[in-house]
Amino acid sequence: MTLRTLAIAGVLLAACIHDNYECATDADCNIGTAGRCEVDHHCTQYDASCELTLRRYTEHSGTESDVCYAGQIELADPCAAGQPPASPSDPCGALVCGALPTCCNAGWSEPCVLEAQRSCHVTCDTRVAISATKGSNLELWDVRYEGSAFTATSVTDRTQQLDWIAPEPGSAEPRLAGFVGSDTLAIVSSSGELDVPVDPTRTFHDVSSVDLDRDMRDTIALEWQDAAGDEEIQIEHLDDLTSRDFDTMVSNRAAWGDYDQDGYPDGVSGTGARYSFMVNVDSTDGTHQRSLDASIASSFNGSAHGGVTSLRGFEWRDADHDGVLDLAAFGNSIRLHEGGSLLDDTPYLSIDCEPPVVLPNAACDESLANFVGTVVPTSTGSIIYAGNTQAHTFYSIVPNAQAGTAEITPLVIPADAGSAVVAQAVFARDVDGDHVLDIVVIDSELGFWVSLSSVDPTRTKFTAVHPIPSAGQIFAQVHASVTGALE
């Protein structure tokens, strides 16, 4: 061995210190403020100078040392909402985030999925978990569209509502969550079933995935109400089954989007006529844990006279095509809240009555109006497809930007859908794989009204299909949880 070789070997050996600490728990990260062990086993700490996440990798984090924590992922399944924000290095993520920055900043929510289907040309199957109730009667269905037609499978081993949640981190397979009895939430994927014990004193409503803490851990939100009237959201980490609760005073139909563009996902949930923004905030106790502030509330009765006070759902969409998510609330009325700095408890567009009109309108009758609907983004704005659960009617509504006006057009309900049925759920997805969003309505008899863009580019003509055998009864509430997987 020559001297030079010895010298090089010595230098290399001496230089080969791996400055890379791998943590196992948050307690391991005891340098700095609010240390946290990330899923990559590196520590982060609170750092207000890091835009969006407010976290920075500590030293000894390998190549990420002292780099602002991004908390983004390469999406294995862009067809499923409730995942961490996408990395802009992902081509599809970059495209989607060009239109909707929140998809890379706060979380991969449903509007991100729709934008991906439109602009990334990803082709997804469509999976709909249907929970239909009338009184104490409950029917659960797993309906899928995988290429040519809807197929439905009855789910009989669950006792409460079904919901699709995001794939397990690193997986591309959405999971179906449903309660078994009062004490277990069963989460099923192709790899098996995870039984999550839950508090039997709580009545759980909706289950959704959300990366609330931006820690990229497998996290779900369970909305619950107890006998004392408390309504809260339980944030559950599925990797270690730890949880914490936030008192939101609402507990139904949670939808996750972005209220304040601060890098953390925010939500909205409601009960009855009331709904509240669940603003994801940094805790004020110095721990820098994330918390939900539900102090900003709104009410379907704010500009109407009540009517059927039944919340139907929320949708975060960029309704005015400004790159910021807006909020659409469906229930007693249809209310559009403009995103960004104007997002508050006052909608800029309220539509009510049968036939629907833009409020305020003192001449219309609000008592027989209760709406389900979806917002379909277009190249210039959006179209709202809404049906009245109290009437055999269905409409397309085109808001006129933020002017507070809208063009409302009645659509023809398929004749073979049945003259007595009403719309109970509406969703938009690219069902037929042509990268144009299609409209699917589920009626009170669990019949489907489908407008495929490949059949009708105007999306004004609907065809009735019946993947679910008719039970011969009218359901009062139909909850549809929609997701998809790459085909």
Binding site: L3, L6, A7, A9, G10, V11, L13, A14, A15, C16, I17, H18, D19, N20, Y21, E22, C23, A27, D28, C29, N30, I31, G35, C43, T58, E59, H60
Partner: protein, 272 residues
Amino acid sequence: MKRAVIVAALAALAAGGVAYADQPSPATPSPPSPLSPTPAPTPMPAPTSPEPAIPSEPATPAPTPPPATDPADSADAHIARARDLHDKGDFEGARAEILAAYKLDPRPELLFALGQLEFNLRHYREAIDYYERFTATQPSAEQAALAEQAIGAARAELTRPPPAPPATPPLLHTQWDGVDSGLAIVGGLAIVAGGGLAYEAVHLSNDSSGTLSDYDHRLDTARHVRIAAAISGGAGIVAIGAALLRWRLHVVADVEVVASPSGAAVSWGGAF
């Protein structure tokens, strides 16, 4: 000088030859030529000392010179040719001509000339013999003194020690000594120690046990250990390099003692 003496003697012979022919008296040889700046021969050290040649002529010259019938074969002619050959440095030829002249005309002065030629040929014994024979002819006191001086010079040459053989260029070569070995060993040990320290540094940095704070302290230690490893390894490399450099520059010469019958000499030795 010596050559000038011979030439002068030969010139005198040539000049005196005529007179001698007119007055044949071997007992009164002509004195050396006054042209000679130094009448006494001054022997010079000779580079080599070959065995003296045996005079081709008998020690006793022929008693009766032959009659000079052929001018080209006369004693004077031989003496003249001897001068020419002498001038050209051909002492052997000159000696043969003088011997031939002596055979024809055994003049005592020729004995002195032969002595000078033998001296010039470094045949000192033969030269002494000729000088003594010349002295025996009862030359003048001055000539006798000259001959005695020549004899002394020849004898001095005989006793002169032979020249030392040419000095052999010292054989230079590099030498690995104990200091070099020490440096190399220390350097090697330092490198091994540096390697061990570097390994320890890597080992410390790979240990993620405990908290981040623990690791921070451990990595700080690892960095110090790494510095120590670098210093140790570097010092080792320097030590080995110094040993090699010292070895390359440590040139020594063989000390060679040359002995001869007449003395001894130390040719050269040393190191740097």
